[in-house]
């Protein structure tokens, strides 16, 4: 009994650079009422695959078969497809703000779905929408029916999207990264809601995500995609207990959430392959730690194990469970009094908001923050979006003046600097930005971007500057020969290395990392985090590390400050914060972050069958 079955699904998308082989020969089947998880890094083809199944990719060349309720979705006429979409298959997208129309009330948008598929009176539609809004947990749904999307918070908007997807009681819901844009605590609520709803309505859910921790908590079955190939598929419990494919094992190892004190993260080396090329052997072979000599030359067979896990790999026994963990060189722990680099005392920041005619209101972003950052240590700043953590970083960096309180960096008051002193201070504080795509000028070469600090402060020029830039590129693990390339020619992780090289250039006293890894994939995240650690060890850097992800902060920070509503509610050393959280908000945050269970090994697993598959 299956709801949806895909057989040998292949999606090719023609682009300027050639044909992108987004999905290659993927087969899977989904049991009714189950939660089917599709995991993979960005570019693994997980979103493209579902969009192709739904007929949302008119340009693509789609082959294979997708059977839903006995009909093949590939090649179905557009009018039939339209009836299925919304009616039998609902969709939930990543960004609830851009998927809702800003000019219509949420109630009328959901009612529109009803009217498009059923003959129904407006009163009846309203009643059903209000009922559904109540069921997805929106308080006083009858009053909120006539509210606009901007009057809801991110989590509430995602609830509205779920109500919209569920209103016609579809057989299948496809949720494409439904929680990625939300805060950790809200994420947990939304996933719980999806789980409840599928039990209440008997709906089958496809959950697409890059977050393995999230999948391990709710999914019945998982499929791991990599570069368009289905590398592993099986029951979630079995896959997470003992990943059969080295890629799945590597992903689990590189997740910061599976961090054990005293160990370095084990990243997957390298980066995902280009989808334009057709590999001869296994797609994962170049990054695989357990690659055999013929992995790179022959397409891997499909291994089917006794517990139902299927893996596309040459290894017969499945991936090894023990990671090649490099020993962690313990950072020299600062004993006794340490020299402070930056001190923040009772800092307030207040904005005046309100229109020209409207009422003037004051908005307190920071409400009295005290923080000391000592030389050579890493202080983490954690909190949900809007808690003021980025603002605090800007205040410490001197980019935004504080309304009240003092910020001292290297003993000098940031509020009392004149223009030339302020410029001089720029040397001492550097910022690594969150978005590796937006923070590098797309029209300038990497060499000149990294050389900017030298140019702006008139330190080195000509050959000397070039030599320094090359040295910096080497330090952060970039090839100095790529001096003349543009940022667009680098991957996300490499771009973040460029940003780090630029920040290192002037040997600053303090580096502020504003969510430096949250835009990166898990396997790349671990590379960048390890780089930051190594640089700190070798160069004695001081970091202020901002993140919304507790597990990332735990891995890199000595002390962690938890922020809520413009205040620091708890400040403790990393291990004590995790072992013994004092503030209720810290406990909520800790409870919400889900870590995938550590693999316990699958000793009882035996190879049942080996099949050759056409690649």
């Amino acid at each position: 009994m299956v709801v949806l079955e895909a057989r040998n699904l292949t999606v090719d998308i023609p682009t300027e650079d050639g044909v992108v082989h987004a999905v290659r020969n993927v087969s899977f089947s989904i049991r009714p009422g189950s939660l089917f998880g599709i995991a993979g890094e960005s570019g693994s083809g997980k979103s493209v695959m579902t969009q192709a199944m739904m007929g949302l990719l008119p340009n693509a060349d789609i082959r294979g078969e997708v059977r839903f309720e006995g009909r093949n979705l590939i090649g179905l006429p557009a009018s039939e497809m339209r009836k299925l979409r919304g009616g039998r298959i609902g969709m939930i997208f990543q960004d609830p703000l851009s998927s809702l129309h800003p000019y219509y009330t949420i109630g009328s948008q959901i009612a529109e779905v009803l009217h498009a598929h059923e003959r129904i009176s407006p009163e009846e539609a309203r009643a059903r929408v209000i009922d559904m809004l109540g069921r997805v947990g929106i308080p006083s749904p009858a009053d909120r029916y006539d509210d606009y999307p901007h009057q809801f918070s991110g989590g509430m908007r995602q609830r509205v999207m779920i109500a919209m997807a569920l209103i016609l009681k579809p057989a299948l819901i496809i949720a494409d990264e439904p929680t990625t844009a939300l805060d950790v605590t809200v994420q947990a609520q939304i996933v719980a809601l999806l789980d409840d709803m599928r039990r209440d309505f008997g709906t089958t859910v496809i959950l697409i995500t890059h977050d393995l921790g999230l999948l391990s908590s709710v999914a019945d079955d998982v499929m791991v995609l990599y570069a368009g190939h289905r590398l592993e598929c099986g029951k979630a419990a079995n896959v997470f207990r003992a990943p059969a494919h080295p890629y799945t094992a590597g992903l689990l190892r590189s997740t910061p959430a599976s961090y054990k004190p005293g160990s370095e993260l084990a990243p997957i080396k390298g980066r995902p392959p280009s989808l334009l090329a057709t590999p001869v052997g296994c797609v994962f072979a170049p990054r695989c730690t357990e690659a055999l000599p013929h992995c790179a030359t022959q397409p891997p067979p499909l291994r089917v194990y006794s517990d139902g896990v299927e893996s596309l790999c040459w290894l017969e026994k499945g991936a090894g469970t023990t990671a090649p963990v490099p020993p962690r060189a313990k950072a020299t722990h600062h004993a006794g009094q340490i020299e402070p680099v930056a001190t923040v005392e009772n800092v307030h920041l207040t904005y005046q908001v309100g229109s020209f005619f409207g009422q003037k209101r004051t908005l307190d972003v920071l409400k009295g923050v005290d923080l000391t950052i000592g030389k050579g240590e890493t202080v983490g700043l954690v909190g949900e979006s809007g808690c003021g953590k980025s603002t605090l970083a800007r205040v410490i960096a001197g980019l935004t003046p504080a309304t009240a309180g003092t910020v001292k960096v290297l003993g000098r008051d940031m509020g009392a600097l004149d223009a030339s002193q302020w410029r001089e201070m720029r040397r001492q504080i550097q910022v690594v930005f969150q978005d590796p795509f937006g923070s590098l000028n797309p029209r300038r070469r990497v060499g000149s971007i990294i050389g900017d600090p030298f140019r702006l402060h008139g330190i080195a020029s000509g050959e000397e500057r070039k030599a320094k830039v090359r040295h910096l590129m080497e330090i952060v693990g970039l090839n100095p020969e790529h001096y003349n390339r543009f940022p667009s020619e680098f991957s996300g992780g490499q771009r973040q290395r460029i940003g780090i090289a630029r920040a290192l250039a002037l040997n600053p006293a303090l580096i502020i990392c504003d969510e430096p890894v949250s835009a990166l994939d898990v396997s790349i995240q671990a590379q960048v985090l390890n780089l930051l650690r190594r640089l700190q060890r070798e160069l004695g850097l001081t970091y202020l590390f901002i993140s919304h992800d507790l597990s990332v902060v735990r891995h890199i920070c000595d002390r962690i400050a938890v922020m809520q509503g413009g205040k620091i509610v708890e400040l403790a050393t990393a291990e004590r914060l995790f072992a013994d959280p004092q503030h209720p908000y810290t406990r909520t945050l800790l409870a919400a972050s889900k870590a995938p269970p550590a693999p316990t090994g699958g000793k009882d697993r035996v190879l049942a069958e080996t099949r050759q598959v056409a690649s």
Binding site: E16, R271, P273, V431, P442, G477, F486, G499, L531
Partner: protein
């Protein structure tokens, strides 16, 4: 960590990364309309360059009046023939030679005025967009002011005050054509200066001039190229309009607008169609070609443009094989 970096680069070599210039040229080459337009523009440039040779081959100078051979006994211009390939005008001058020399004036004024106008537009737009506040207010209102002045009336007043000349024509054209482009640039700069890389530069201690020139300007190349190309036909038509009204190029120097004016005086076009047809067609082809090329350039430079997507959809296999 260094071994990881090595691995980063050993892969992905099988797929060639194309530079943005190469991609742009590839897209442009696929666009047949743009290629034809480019051909027409090159022909007209060639015509302007070889004008003295045309005069030498035909033996007619552009301002010489052939009252015996170029006019019929009743004083009517002769039509296209072996002697005068594109006919003569009311004074017995060779239309072909005058067309070739007129192309020089049109192209010179068109290109020169457009580049000058773009330069003003970039300076005004970037300054207004970057600084905002009072500076933006003042410059934007100035832009509005220029856009709301009736240009023909003002041009006529200026020319009648100072007397017609080439320099004055260029000055008038420049003055009236920078404003729309300055607005576009200002909008782009406002959105660019909110980007992270500008914040990054500022946090490194870069001053306003450095940010404007080094960070923002390179990101404006696409609109600048496209708008300058699109401005050229406007300037050419503007110059022709002024010359047609007798306020641009001083006769007897040939210009396309002046040639059209000659045809309309005394309703000569009723008997000598070539006097309208030849300069009119040249003007039409030139402006059309520049407009199509400008459109094509915009599509080629902007990978997300609608036309590129449509093109790929039409032939999904063929377009991707190369």
């Amino acid at each position: 960590m260094s071994d990881i970096a090595e691995n980063d680069f050993s892969q992905g070599t099988e797929v060639v990364q194309r530079g943005s210039l190469e991609l742009t040229l590839r897209r442009l080459r696929r666009d047949h309309a743009s290629m034809i337009a480019l051909g027409v523009i090159l022909c007209i440039i060639l015509l302007a360059i070889i004008a003295p040779w045309i005069a030498a081959i035909t033996g007619h100078s552009p301002i010489e009046q052939f009252r015996d051979t170029g006019l019929s006994p009743s004083g009517i211009p002769v039509g296209p023939g072996a002697d005068f390939w594109l006919g003569t005008d009311q004074l017995g001058r060779d239309v072909l030679v005058r067309l070739a020399y007129g192309a020089r004036v049109s192209l010179l004024v068109g290109v020169f005025a457009s580049i000058l106008a773009s330069m003003i537009a970039v300076v005004v737009g970037v300054t207004a967009g970057y600084f905002g506040g009072m500076v933006d207010m003042a410059l934007s209102r100035l832009t509005d002011l220029v856009m709301s002045v009736p240009f023909l009336l003002c041009a006529l007043a200026l020319v009648s005050a100072f007397g017609p000349s080439l320099m004055l024509s260029v000055a008038v054209i420049v003055f009236f054509s920078w404003a729309p482009m300055a607005r576009v640039i200002r909008g782009q700069v406002i959105s660019l200066s909110r980007q992270d890389f500008v914040h990054a530069s500022r946090s490194l201690g870069a001053g306003p001039l450095s940010i404007m020139v080094v960070d923002i300007l390179p990101n404006l190349t696409v609109p600048i190229i496209v708008y300058t190309t699109m401005q050229i036909p406007n300037s050419i038509v503007f110059e022709a309009t002024l010359s047609f009204l007798g306020m641009g190029i001083v006769p007897p120097t040939p210009s396309w607008g002046g040639m059209l004016a000659d045809a309309s005086s005394n309703s000569l076009y009723l008997v000598a169609w070539w006097m309208v047809f030849v300069p009119g067609t040249a003007l039409l082809l030139t402006t059309l070609a520049f407009n199509i090329l400008g459109d094509g350039l915009r599509d080629a430079l902007d990978p997300k443009s609608a036309r590129t997507a449509r093109h790929l959809k039409r032939k999904p296999k063929g377009a991707s094989k190369s």
